[in-house]
């Protein structure tokens, strides 16, 4: 267990930034931390990196409590804050060297570790430049290199791809994937496709609560899928026919243009019923103009949990808790 958060809350005066959240991250996992602006992502990360204290609850990183044993926590994490604060007057390699010394990287391996970080983050070509003269993309990567120099067990990255161009985003994501072989990574982002691309697990946080916490495999599972069909024919008869197909749990229909009606067919199990639907339609002589397998994307989940009111969120999160 690399990160263990138990009923964590953080209040800024009357404002509740993080409200009673609990989650765990196992060794070697890549966890995407999603949420709208102000949802409490950064606050949670700041508590985990010992920068801020929690109002209540317990957080343990690498087995150490963030409040009582913060030095041990800090030795085990690499942290990239959202704004990537760097000293503009230092040169890139000078900065990395300084930071490596602060983090107690032994002199014998320090230069190799810095070279490694420079290579991984592709900032070799700017190693002698003043940080103040670097572009946003390079600064982001210098910050990332800094988080890597001491080879920490856990990487906590707050929006590591913000401000990068599409190519750099791709490279950074690939790097995060490479790193996951040896590190546990918790990173936050706004861009859902990034999470779909690299994460093994998604945690959506909404107004201070965990709205959603599932492995990616569960999301892409066919289990939750539906088939959408548009069929011309007597609506009730079609619905009844579709319901009678094997594995179909329910059918919803509503009329569309040109005498067609659209049917949302909910399927149980991992069965693909598209072929059966086509055969049923042709058997009965009904016209079929659309037949598609609709996988629920992360965006559906995300918009569902963030658009709904807080009550629904509370419901979801309590269900998540009970299932976990």
């Amino acid at each position: 267990m690399m990160i263990q958060v138990d009923r964590l809350s953080k209040h800024y005066g009357p404002v509740i930034a993080v409200n009673d959240i609990s989650f765990q991250v196992q060794r070697g996992e890549i966890v995407g931390f999603l949420g709208l602006n102000g949802a409490g992502k950064t606050t949670t990360m700041r508590i985990l990196t010992t920068w801020l204290p929690a109002t209540s609850g317990i957080a343990k990183v690498a087995g150490h409590d963030v409040m009582t044993d913060s030095m041990a926590v800090r030795r085990n994490i690499g942290y990239l804050p959202e704004s990537v604060p760097l000293y503009p007057e230092m040169r890139v390699e000078e900065y990395l060297e300084y930071r490596a010394r602060l983090k107690g990287v032994d002199r014998a391996i320090r230069l190799t570790r810095i070279e490694d970080a420079l290579n991984r983050c592709r900032i070799r070509e700017v190693r002698r430049r003043l940080i103040g003269t670097l572009s946003k993309g390079y600064r982001q990567r210098v910050g990332l290199a800094d988080a890597l120099t001491h080879d920490p067990k856990i990487l906590i990255l707050d929006e590591p791809t913000s401000g990068l161009d599409p190519l750099q985003i791709q490279e950074t994501l690939h790097m995060i994937q490479d790193l996951a072989e040896e590190h546990t990574i918790l990173f936050s982002t706004h861009i859902l496709s990034e999470v779909e691309a690299v994460c093994e697990r998604v945690i959506v946080i909404h107004s201070g609560r965990i709205a959603f916490d599932r492995p990616m495999t569960e999301l892409t599972n066919v289990e939750d899928a539906e088939v959408l069909a548009e069929i011309k024919g007597p609506a009730d008869a079609v619905a009844a026919e579709l319901k009678s197909l094997e594995g179909v749990r329910g059918v919803k229909s509503h009329a569309t243009d040109g005498g067609f009606a659209s049917f949302e067919i909910r399927v149980s199990g991992k069965r693909d019923v598209r072929e059966a639907v086509f055969q049923a339609a042709s058997r009965k002589g009904w016209s079929l103009r659309r037949l598609e397998h609709r996988r629920r994307s992360l965006f559906d989940y995300f918009s569902k949990v963030t658009m709904q009111g807080d009550a629904a969120v509370a419901g979801t999160s309590s269900r998540e808790n009970s299932s976990a």
Binding site: W51, P53, Y79, S83, P85, E89, R101, L102, G137, Q177
Partner: protein, 590 residues
């Protein structure tokens, strides 16, 4: 997976820059013309065909050098930069040949340092910008060689010189030691070369410090030890030997006997034993040496005459120089987290324009103050008035240093923590394994060192006074004044640091610091205004006298350094630092 991805390098510089440094090149052209014109004028003077006086020639050349250095700093074309570097090397080599030629003829070779100095800066500027690894390293090695050789030769010359003689060792040391920070600052930090150079500097600094101390102490001590053996010698030797024997027992023998018993651990016995061995050896050596010294020294006839004066000024100068070298070396050699942080803070002063402005300002008002002081002295001697010792007090005891402190310190301290708060680098710093007290202490030490450095020109003016007039003045109160300046400076810097930790706005931090320092001055006037001799008002006056720093500074010129004042300033320092640590920690209070 990593190997087959294509890396896309960002080709364009992120900051817009002028393609061709037009202004810089005009400056450079004017500069080099002025250099040649000036030197030409000087040569004409030397050959007896003066057009203008020699001073004018040197002045024009100096202006030219400054312009040429500006050009070299701004030049973007690699080829032209290399030409400036060649000019620098020519300057260094020319200075070297010139100096050796003059020295071998027994002439004053100080003038040879004139081309040497700007040459070093040309090479440093080249090393800063050169992209070719080989030539960059060559330039850096040249800087290291200049620094290393110059410092060693300079130290030897200072060490051998007669006290208060006109001594080129000082000049050589000062100029060549400037090459050392340039070398360290421009080298790749943490590389092997800086590590070994740092180590060498630490060793040399320690050696120099040890030699200086021994040379200052041993001859005097030996001369004194020609007197009959005092009563303390025999007991000291006996106690020392006993302690040594007991310590050895506790260190080597006892742990084996103690193996397995729980009441007294072997490790404890070992450490106690080691302390016993060390103190016992020291006492035994001193005691036995003292016992034998009288006869040996009298029989051999050594140290018959009192030792010639070494401590003032050569010993002190060498000691300060050795400490400075040790400091620089340690910055690049040590792995200690606190020292690493102090180094970053200290070097960050040298990239901010404000620090340079304060440094130039202090030098300028120091020079003005010195000039005023000098005119005053001349005036007095013309009128035949006697000088009252310590007459250098008048250089320091006026409103100028007080104003300098009150206006200077806020500029130094304001950005220390405000900047880190504003740019959120504090978050990065305090989520790495660094404690709050280390952050505060490193910033404090770095800023205090810079503060003390600001006064170096003031003291160098006094050195010039001593060397130029050739007449001694009473320097003893100066020692007390430096201590007073140090402790009150620590107080101000700690106060400024506290205010800087409170706000993310530098201006607010500066204004708060300035106002607090003004309070100290108000308190001084307050203690002067109160005339009552009894009751709580009188006690208030006494309190005001202790709290304000101006009274302490004035007392030092009477040769008094009150312990209560020093304790007050130091405890105030510790208190402000403590509050500063608490301010940083308070973010984690719930």
């Amino acid at each position: 997976m990593t190997s087959n991805r294509q890396t896309l390098a960002e080709a364009a510089p992120s900051q817009l820059r002028e393609d061709v440094p037009v202004v810089a090149r005009w400056l450079g052209m004017f500069g080099w013309s002025a250099v040649f014109l000036g030197i030409g004028a000087v040569c004409l003077v030397l050959y007896g065909r003066a057009v203008v006086s020699e001073e004018v020639g040197w002045f024009v050349a100096l202006i030219g050098i400054v312009l040429a250095l500006l050009h070299a700093a701004m030049e973007t074309d690699g080829m032209i930069r290399r030409y400036t570097a060649i000019a620098g090397v020519v300057g260094i080599a020319g200075g070297l040949i010139w100096g050796i030629a003059y020295a071998s003829q027994g002439k004053n070779w100080g003038v040879a340092l004139v081309p040497f100095f700007p040459g070093t800066f040309f090479v440093a500027l080249f090393a800063r910008q050169e992209t070719d690894e080989f030539w960059r390293n060559m330039a850096l090695y040249l800087l290291a060689a200049i620094g290393g050789i110059g410092v060693v030769v300079g130290s030897v010359m200072i060490g051998l010189a007669k006290p208060w003689s006109e001594n080129l060792g000082y000049v050589l040391f000062l100029i060549s030691s400037m090459a050392l920070p340039l070398f360290f600052g421009l080298s790749q930090s943490g590389s092997k070369q800086t590590y070994y150079a740092g180590l060498a500097l630490v060793v040399f600094g320690l050696l120099l410090l040890a030699i200086t101390t021994l040379r200052a102490v041993i001859p005097d001590l030996m001369h004194e030890w020609r007197s009959p053996v005092p009563k303390y010698a025999l007991p000291t030797a006996l106690v020392g030997v006993t302690l040594l024997v007991l310590g050895l027992l506790a260190w080597l023998v006892l742990p084996k006997q103690l193996q397995g018993t729980a009441s007294f651990s072997p490790e404890m016995s070992k450490s106690v034993g080691r302390i016993g061995v060390m103190s016992g050896t020291a006492m035994a050596v001193i005691g036995i040496a003292r016992l034998l010294a009288t006869d040996m020294l009298r029989n051999s006839g050594w140290f018959k005459t009192p030792a010639e004066q070494f401590l003032i000024p050569n010993g002190v100068t060498l000691g300060v120089a050795a400490t400075a070298l040790l400091f620089i070396g340690l910055m690049y050699y040590s792995e200690n987290r606190l020292i690493v942080m102090i180094r970053r803070e200290f070097s960050s002063f040298w990239v901010s324009p404000i620090a340079y402005l304060v440094l130039i300002g202090y030098t300028a008002i120091g020079a003005g103050s010195y000039l005023w002081f000098l005119l005053n002295m001349i005036h007095r001697s013309v009128r035949g008035q006697p000088f009252e010792e310590p007459f250098v007090a008048q250089f320091f005891l006026n409103f100028v240093p007080v104003v300098a402190v009150v206006f200077g310190v806020p500029f130094l301290t304001m950005r220390l923590l405000s900047e880190e708060r504003r740019t959120a680098t504090l978050e990065v710093l305090l989520t790495s394994p660094v404690a709050e007290w280390q952050v505060i202490l490193s910033k404090f030490v770095a800023c205090w060192l810079f503060f003390m450095l600001l006064w170096a020109p003031w003291f160098s003016f006094l050195l010039a006074l001593r060397l130029e007039t050739g007449k001694p003045f009473d320097y003893h109160p100066l020692v007390g004044f430096v201590v007073a300046l140090g402790v009150s400076g620590a107080n101000f810097v700690a106060l400024g640091l506290l205010f800087s930790s409170l706000s993310r706005n530098q201006i607010i931090a500066a204004v708060l610091t300035f106002m607090s320092l003004m309070m100290y001055i108000l308190v001084y006037f307050g203690s002067g205004v109160i005339q009552t001799e009894t009751g709580w008002v009188a006690q208030l006056k006494e309190l005001f006298r202790v709290v304000n720093f101006i009274d302490m500074w004035m007392e030092t010129w009477n040769g008094k350094l009150w312990l209560r004042d020093v304790v007050f300033q130091l405890s105030a320092t510790v208190f402000w630092l403590f509050l500063g640590v608490k301010v940083l920690e308070s973010r984690r209070w719930t």
